[in-house]
Symmetry: C2
Subunit: 229 residues, 2 copies
């Protein structure tokens, strides 16, 4: 069933940079390509946009199809449109980035014969297409964004300790933070809700668990509040 147009048209794709956090490192999910071009190379999950879905919907769909991830934070990153970025033909790709925590969303073997795996940011293979550049752009974006918008909470389980929160910031920003100053600051913002639970199954004093209080955050933003780590 061919489609005909008066002018040549580019193909339109979406690609997703999925960040996940575990105890060691900030990770990215990659897919091993089962088809040429770049067969056998690692690439970002993604695919072509259908005409009856928005870009956001396409990104969400591809993410679920290729990695099994649902209901994760997903936001548009940048659109990559170099003429030769795909060797087959002109493909313009709208990149998205996603954040999720590795505990809740375990490595889903991908559905369509290709392998999916998490890679630490310091241990990446070279990627297919211009996906290295897309990934670099995504890392820059979250580094910038995490400092003044609380997107980082998407990477943690719903209840977390202050140490986990601090370690997350340290991994994203790639530098050490002072414990006391960090706690003072983050508690002072009034967007963390203290639960009456503590960590389980640790071989030392258990830390208190906190929850991100989205309502308090939104209230504060409305009053002209500035989250800034």
């Amino acid at each position: 069933m061919p489609y005909t147009y008066e002018y040549a048209r580019a193909a339109l794709a979406v690609d997703c940079v999925v960040f996940g956090l575990d105890d060691e490192d900030l990770k990215v999910m990659l897919i091993e390509r089962g088809q040429p071009p770049f067969k056998g190379r690692w690439a970002l999950p993604g695919g072509f946009v259908r005409l009856d879905e928005t870009l956001f919907e396409a990104a969400r769909r591809e993410l679920e199809e290729e990695t099994g991830l649902k209901r994760v934070f997903l936001e548009q990153l940048y659109t990559f449109g170099d003429v030769k970025r795909d060797p087959r033909e002109r493909v313009v790709s709208v990149a998205y980035y996603a954040l999720c925590n590795l505990r809740d969303h375990k490595v889903q073997g991908a559905t369509d014969a290709s392998a999916a795996a998490w890679f630490g940011l310091h241990d990446l293979p070279s990627l297919a297409f211009d996906h290295d550049e897309i990934l670099r752009t995504a890392v820059e974006r979250i580094r910038g964004k995490v400092r003044y918008v609380p997107i980082g909470f998407e990477l943690l389980p719903r209840k977390f300790t202050l140490t986990q929160l601090q370690k997350m910031y340290e991994k994203i920003l790639d530098r050490q933070l002072d414990k006391r100053n960090f706690r003072k600051k983050v508690l002072g913002m009034g967007i963390l809700e203290e639960t009456d639970e503590v960590q389980q199954d640790v071989a030392h004093r258990a830390a208190r668990l906190y929850r991100f209080d989205e309502l308090a955050y939104k209230r504060l933003v409305k009053q002209g509040f500035n989250f800034e780590l």
Copy 2:
């Protein structure tokens, strides 16, 4: 000369939000549409992407064709891909925003029969397509960005007074700033070069002219410097 594809394809367009600054207000350049749909309505300059040009090149080309603007600051904003954003068919638009100063770049009557004009941000007509939304997004973007990246200088002539600089920030941020604190801060950053010239043809004491020192800025950024107004 028709082009045929196995799957249906969206058309791909670019749209540009061009900001300009004059003595009164922050302005945006709009084009009156000469063709349906939305004939007679105001819209952002833009058009379809050719297959042999990057997105950036397409934006620059359309900008020049429709408004006569060349060599202005131009940067990708966001990609708009709602299914029904164009009533004719599926069109995905990569939006760019541009900054220029109204002195150097006078209102070029548009080349192709449609009229081009500057509109103050507080005095906008309702726009064609989803261009209201694109424009809103662009305003948010420069408000956020101008505070920690010196893009604002693109809106001024190469040599400017500190008062002009301050007024620019006041118009973009839509609030008053204190003169002494502003000067202290902006001079303290060390990215302004004092010239030995002063304003001409003013009916009062002439102010000293400054120049943005891009090299100093880049040097400072490399050392981990934080421009932040």
